[in-house]
Amino acid sequence: MNGRATAVGVAGVSKTFRIPRQHIMSLKERALHPFKRVQVTDLHALKDVSFEIEQGEFFGIAGRNGSGKSTLLKCMAGVYRVDQGEITVAGRLVPFIELGVGFNQEMTALDNVVINGVMMGMSPREAQRRFHAVVGFAELEGFLDLKLKNYSSGMQVRLAFALMVQADADVLLIDEVLAVGDAAFQQKCFDAFHDLRERGKTVVLVTHDMQMVERFCQRAMLLDHGVVADIGDPPSVARRYLELNFEEAGEAEVTAARPGDLSHGVAIGDVWVEGQDGRRADSVGQGDPLVIRAEIESLAHIDDPEVGVTIHDESGAVVFGTTTRELGREEEPFQRGDRLSLRIALRNDLRPARYYVDCGVHEGTHRVAAFRPRATDFLVFGNRAQSGLVALEHTFELERQSDRTEAATTP
């Protein structure tokens, strides 16, 4: 917050939807009951929301389904009119509520690029000029004559994304669109966003995926039931998000062994690290075997459990993470009273530093059954000093191509 200009200002914004009990009224009803008020339910989607986003910031707006985040996004994009308050935007704001708005399956890439460009506020000529940059970015040069319907879904996403990056917006508003596409594509997207940020553009990401917020955003805001629940640095917002999820779950038996521990249905007991000799260790040598152990007890029936750990460094950067689901394992449901022992063995290729282990259990893909941040920590020692997060095993060859050595050794 070094006094940069405000890119987006939201001040006291409220938005209420009046939802009629019976959505579509016919004229006949109107005619027969002219004075009958339509019964409506007021849905307060946003209540006095205020915040500011600075220019060049990568800002995350998180919230669960129904928290009002999409409504907020649509108000910012000018699709909905706010009831109260004011939203100001500096420069051109381009929303991406959906990839490829206005795409027409029967038309070619060129036609679609022009249509989409005009939708985003370009003139047809400008949009046409941008065509080559767009298909270049999307890597679709060989498929220009095809109709869109003959593109694979991946190609369509690439085209849509290329349009978005090339739209020349000052403020980009992105709604979950990145959920589509594989990890490599997502990474490419975020590389592109970082690039935009370097150029002083502002990126606003709206998502329910807290991981994404933590990975990419510099600052985040949490919306809950239409009010700002938290705003600040992503890790603390992520924590608040987890807490909210628990409060919602009702009878949360939070066994606060330490502040920050969460337990709902599953208790994570002891978590420790074992060294080369199979004994508990505080420090592990570089290149040695490293074993992470944990004891888990199920306090309830847990369907589709997923158990995982992450290792991160002092700054919070995740160095390594693994879960049963990521390994493709499908675990049997936990029964109440089940005791489990976790053992993850790996070779310690970490750089010398202090590391922390988080351990967690999910039920399904979203509900957190237990989470213990910084459940244990360990120190890595060694003298393979190099830069970077990990000390990957490698060979290093540097050969001289010229024959200077030969010349020097020959008398």
């Binding site: 016919s26 108000c75 009119r81 706010v82 100001t88 708005v101």
Partner: protein, 280 residues
């Protein structure tokens, strides 16, 4: 770092918001797309823009000229029929397709900041492109039929401007109302066929009994447009809109009526526009 633009207030959706240029670009690109897709995939493609009115003309011509011998005493009746059908078809087609336009285009309306009226306007524009193609064919037929070109043919735009304005007005009005009342679609289907018979499309205005003739000319602006077209394009001895409406200042009544519909349409659309995205 790029220079910072001054913050501007986000105004939310409206009928005309987003600037005139953007409105025009959007109307053009969406209208063009719809036009290109109208006959897409059919073997004859754009030829259908010509074939459809011609085939309808063929049917009506056989019925009214050969079977019921209706048009015998109307000068150049077949050509009048063709001309009228092309003009009326534009109005009926464009307005009918505009009714559901906002709902059809939900994907755009709910996802972009959008000057709402672009959507019904684009439908009218794509209808207008069809009309332009058809009119070229009509004039070729007129020449082939042996009607001599007259300078009054150049006045055609004076007919098309009020016709297009009226169509736009109806398109805006109906599309905005349809979002709220889905009854609008069947009601308009009935009204537009009533208008077909209530306008001098199949007949000339002098076929209408004296008592009703003036009333018809006063309450139905389409009647005035078609009758004036008959005088300028088909038969210079025809009465023309002004005389048929009762002469002199009477013509201001249908003009005022048309402008009234336009004003009402703009008001309704403007009133509804901010909430259209929420109601879809």
């Amino acid at each position: 770092m790029s220079s910072v633009a001054a913050p501007r207030r986000v105004r939310g959706p409206s009928a005309f918001g987003g600037g005139l240029r953007r409105t025009l670009y959007l109307t053009w690109i969406i209208g063009l797309t719809e036009y290109r897709l109208t006959y897409f995939g059919s073997a004859l493609g754009y030829l259908w823009a010509l074939m459809r009115p011609l085939m309808l003309f063929g049917v009506l011509y056989v019925v009214f000229s050969k079977i019921v011998k209706f048009g015998d005493d109307i000068v150049n009746y077949p050509m009048l029929l063709l001309f009228n059908i092309v003009l009326f078809n534009f109005f009926a087609d464009a307005s009918t397709r505009a009714v559901t336009s906002l709902v059809d285009r939900e994907a755009i309306v709910r996802k972009m900041h959008f000057p709402g009226m672009v959507i019904p306007f684009a439908r009218v524009l794509s209808g207008g492109m069809n009309l332009a193609v058809s009119l070229v064919a009509v004039f070729i037929f007129l020449l082939a039929y042996g009607i001599n070109p007259r300078w009054t043919w150049l006045l055609l735009p004076l007919l098309l401007v009020p016709l297009v304005l009226l169509t736009l007005a109806v398109a805006m009005l109906l599309s905005a109302l349809f979002v709220r009342f889905r009854d609008v679609a069947p009601i308009w289907a009935v009204i537009s066929s009533a208008l077909f018979y209530g306008s001098p499309v199949l007949y000339a205005i002098d076929k209408v009994p004296e008592d009703y003739r003036q009333v018809l000319m006063l309450v139905n602006p389409l009647a005035d447009i078609l009758e004036q077209g008959r005088r300028w394009v088909i038969d210079p001895n025809a009465e023309g809109a002004i005389a048929a409406a009762g002469g002199g200042a009477w013509i201001l009544v249908p003009v005022a009526l048309g402008l009234g519909v336009l004003a009402l349409a703009v008001w309704v659309f403007n009133h509804e526009a901010p909430r259209i995205a929420e109601r879809l």
